[in-house]
């Protein structure tokens, strides 16, 4: 039977844990003290490398390896905490920002020490107004207590910290766009290489890490790499926070060891499927392929989900019962990518737009069988051919819905179903970013 394993979420429900004094009473900042007192920066990086900690923002890149890419020479280096959390279905970083912000900050300072960061920027999506204020208060407290600023806790390590708001753009979660946004430019992705670790913010070496990745670091320092390796699977060591939404009885954020069986997870931790039998899941945020129920008997790990035809992604775990209209779901997903495409490259800008238009045409009962070919072509034309991974993220859902739920599209095309739109969406004031069915 699946169980929760609370590491980042340990003590998250303790009253007042977002304040420094309560966090310290529950062992907070002990890891930072250990690092500053007993470990060299290289030892910290080596320990995190050895632990196998993989990034929790979506791509799963080993954190310690990434820190190791930073050049050793002196000078300005930056750590950007990615708190843009905009992947549909994902809301676990929000829980950390609201309830356990000091654990993220402690992890960030440890990471900063490991590779010599001179300044930490915490980039929080602008809609998280409440969380921005909480994190600013937390940063102020940390400065006052001597955990930030000059000569931290009497050591010779110094680092500054800035809390920075976004303003509503999914693409800002992509690391190079985040840097562009932070530099005061339109947030369009940049060419890699140079990778941010070599030339990042203001052309200086920069690490971008997800909130949850950093919030896992203190536990690794305190309990050791071997402890972390003893959790999870060989290729997916450790734990992961899942944001659970959709047709389950107990939606919410759950932290589990990687490798737990997906069906067991739904049944025992998420309280089972609500309103009928399981039809499908999207296990890793809207960007990953949909999984029909028949494929869901698999481990929730990087490799387990990949072998079963999907991906872990951000672990934004969405559940669909048997009554869900999958064509409508992919319409919503495709609208999202059309809305959020930054417009820099043609395949993604045009592809996302036309895909959404065609799906809307099918829903209205005006589709033809040819449309399924066009949809496939448009998605294939974006996959691996776009400037940044948003193009792939927009293609995979379309391809997988066509593969697994083709019959539902055909029901619309052959006139057995029809859906009249309830309204025409307008996604911002005065932007005319309207995604409007043209025919």
């Amino acid at each position: 039977m699946a169980e929760e394993t609370k590491i980042v979420m340990l003590d998250m429900d303790v009253e007042g844990i977002s304040s420094l004094s309560v966090y310290e009473k529950h062992g907070g900042y002990a890891a930072l003290k250990k690092v500053l007192g007993e470990m060299t920066p290289d030892e910290v990086t080596a320990e995190v490398k050895k632990s196998g900690l993989r990034g929790k923002g979506g791509a799963g890149f080993p954190a310690g390896v990434k820190w190791g890419f930073i050049p050793k020479d002196k000078g300005e280096k930056y750590l950007c905490v990615n708190a843009d959390e905009s992947e549909p279905g994902t809301f676990k970083d929000q829980a950390i920002l609201e309830k356990m912000p000091h654990r993220m900050l402690e992890g960030a300072i440890i990471a900063g020490y490991a590779f010599g960061a001179t300044h930490i920027f915490i980039y929080i999506r602008g809609e998280f107004w409440k969380e921005i204020n909480i994190v600013q208060r937390v940063v102020d407290e940390a400065y006052e207590a001597g955990y930030l600023g000059k000569g931290i806790l009497g050591s010779d390590y110094s680092v500054e910290c800035t809390v920075h708001p976004g303003a509503g753009a999914y693409i800002c979660g992509e690391e190079t766009s985040l840097l562009e946004s932070l530099e005061g430019r339109r947030a369009e992705p940049k060419m890699k290489p140079p990778f941010p670790a070599i030339e990042g913010l203001y052309d200086k070496p920069t690490i971008i890490n997800n909130v949850e990745t950093l919030a896992t670091v203190p536990a690794i320092i305190e309990r050791g790499a071997d402890w972390h390796l003893s959790l999870g699977t060989e290729k997916s060591p450790g734990i992961k926070m899942f944001s659970v939404s959709g047709h389950v009885n107990k939606p919410g954020v759950y932290e589990i060891e990687l490798g737990v069986n997906q069906l067991d997870f739904i049944e025992t931790i998420c309280g089972g499927v609500k309103g009928g039998r399981l039809k499908a899941t999207i296990p890793g945020g809207s960007s990953v392929p949909v999984m029909p129920a028949a494929n869901c008997d698999c481990p929730l790990s990087f490799e387990g989900l990949q072998d079963a035809g999907s991906m872990l992604g951000s672990a934004g775990f969405m559940v669909f019962n048997e009554h869900t209209d999958m064509v409508k779901v992919i319409e919503v997903i495709s609208r999202f990518y059309a809305h959020e495409s930054c417009g820099k490259c043609t395949v993604c800008r045009e592809g996302t737009h036309w895909i959404n238009m065609i799906i809307n045409r099918i829903l209205r009962g005006e589709g033809a069988m040819d449309d399924l070919v066009t949809l496939q072509d448009a998605a294939d034309g974006m996959e691996m051919k776009s400037f940044c991974p948003l193009g792939d993220a927009a293609a995979w859902p379309v391809q997988s819905f066509l593969k697994h739920f083709r019959h539902e599209f055909i029901d619309y095309i052959e006139g057995r179903k029809k859906l009249v739109p309830k309204y025409e969406p307008v996604g911002a004031i005065g932007h005319h970013k309207l995604v409007k069915p043209a025919y």
Binding site: E76, E85, S86, E87, P88, G89, T90, F91, D93, Q94, H119, R125, G126, E127, F128, W129, K130, E160, T162, H164, G166, A167, G168, A169, L182, E183, G184, R185, R186, A187, Y202, S243, V244, S245, G246, H247, P251, I282, S286, G316, M318, T324, K328, V329, V332, I333, F336, H339, E340, K422, Y423, E424, P425, V426, G427, A428, I429, G430, H431, K433
Partner: protein, 163 residues
């Protein structure tokens, strides 16, 4: 550099200066998005005055500032109603009935999505995932507070509570 900020109202300049002090940004241009938030709060939207103030403060051209602001959905590029109702209709909120909430609001307010009531009290827009998917449907007001687990009844009482 002795700059006189001729287009920046005094109260706004104080907030800009506080941002500069607190932000400790290695380059001033990084203040663009935070300064736009502050200007929007002051003027109610990204009006020409707001653009001029931010441009002057950061020594950028007004067109550059406007071009950047229009990249982000939270910036109102037109004068909105007093209360902007932002309904999330991404996947999880859709599953919980977000579309019915938008349709209900359109009917009740007598406006289309993207519009503003004639008395200037309410504007209505749809937004994409707000990062609270387990508590949907989610509605945000004026880029600020979240209202979760929304129903038609709760929307009605929310409307009444907004002066």
């Amino acid at each position: 550099m002795a700059l006189t900020f001729s287009k920046i109202p005094g109260e706004l300049l104080e907030k800009f200066n506080a941002l500069e002090e607190k932000g400790k940004y290695p380059k001033r241009k990084s203040m663009l998005v935070p300064a736009l938030h502050i200007a929007q709060e002051h003027f109610g939207w990204i009006s020409d005055e707001a653009v001029a103030a931010v441009a002057e403060f950061l020594e950028l051209s007004p067109n550059y500032v406007k071009g950047d602001a229009s990249f982000y959905t939270m910036f109102f590029m037109d004068k909105p109603g007093k209360h902007v109702i932002q309904v999330c209709h991404n996947v999880s909120c859709y599953l919980e009935g977000a579309e019915d909430i938008v349709a209900h609001l359109e009917r009740k307010l007598g406006i289309k999505c993207g519009g503003t009531t004639p008395d200037g009290k309410f504007s209505l827009v749809t937004v994409e995932c707000l990062g609270a998917c387990g508590r949907g449907p989610v509605v945000q007001i004026n880029n600020r507070e979240y209202h979760e687990y929304m129903t038609i009844e709760k929307i009605d009482s929310l409307l009444e509570s907004l002066e």
